[in-house]
Symmetry: C2
Subunit: 131 residues, 2 copies
């Protein structure tokens, strides 16, 4: 398969696939003309990567997940550990964003949003924490 086919069938853009090869996530063969020649396993791996990335796993986690994917002897506990860490990170991020959201929402509500310069949002930003 050429890169265009794999891109379409895996949902991973050709540019990204080349990048993934660069960083060693996939290693397609080459045909005589220099074109990358993808096997069905490559296609599966790319789809796997696409799904893992869409779940927010880092490239490094994807690398590990991919090696576990290849490993018939793997322990599901290894996979679970990675997923749990990632989940914790996401939940932490959600909390941070929720705190931000609340602060901002409060400021936005308190701002009249008219043509006068007075603005609680500006006041907050300008509140001098400058010692």
């Amino acid at each position: 398969m050429n890169i265009g086919d794999v891109a379409e069938r895996s949902g991973v853009p050709a540019k990204t696939i080349r990048y993934y090869e660069d960083i060693g996530l996939v290693r397609p063969l080459r045909s005589g003309n220099g074109y990358r020649d993808f096997a069905v396993e490559d296609l599966h791996k790319l789809a796997f990567l696409g799904r893992a990335r869409s779940l927010g796993f880092s490239i490094d986690e994807c690398r590990t997940l991919l090696s576990l994917y290849d490993d018939r002897e793997r322990s599901s506990s290894d996979v679970k550990a990675i997923a749990q860490k990632h989940l914790a990170r996401i939940d932490r991020k959600i909390s941070e964003l929720q705190a931000l959201s609340e602060t901002l929402r409060d400021l936005v509500v308190r701002c009249h949003g008219d043509d006068r310069p007075e603005c609680p949002i500006m006041d907050d930003l300008a509140r001098t924490g400058t010692t």
Copy 2:
């Protein structure tokens, strides 16, 4: 004031201040020895930037906010518009992350996490969307 002082008093790292000068967010004077010489307004602006960044505003939004900060004639509606857009972005991001979190949590719960290879997480990642 030297950069070290402003860094400490504004809470913005010296490296970051230099970067902000690079991209034109602050324009400190220079003393005879080539050192940056920050005025009190610069300090205020840097504290403003620090706060705005900590609320998640992009550098570009900060640039606009800073010009509104400088503008005695500004309309609070302009500030509010920026904040509202930002808030919407954050809330969108929260929703995305919550969806991710739910998906992941479900997978994690269903994974036994033992020494066998069977793993619903892997199954999900490997579910061939490959046409």
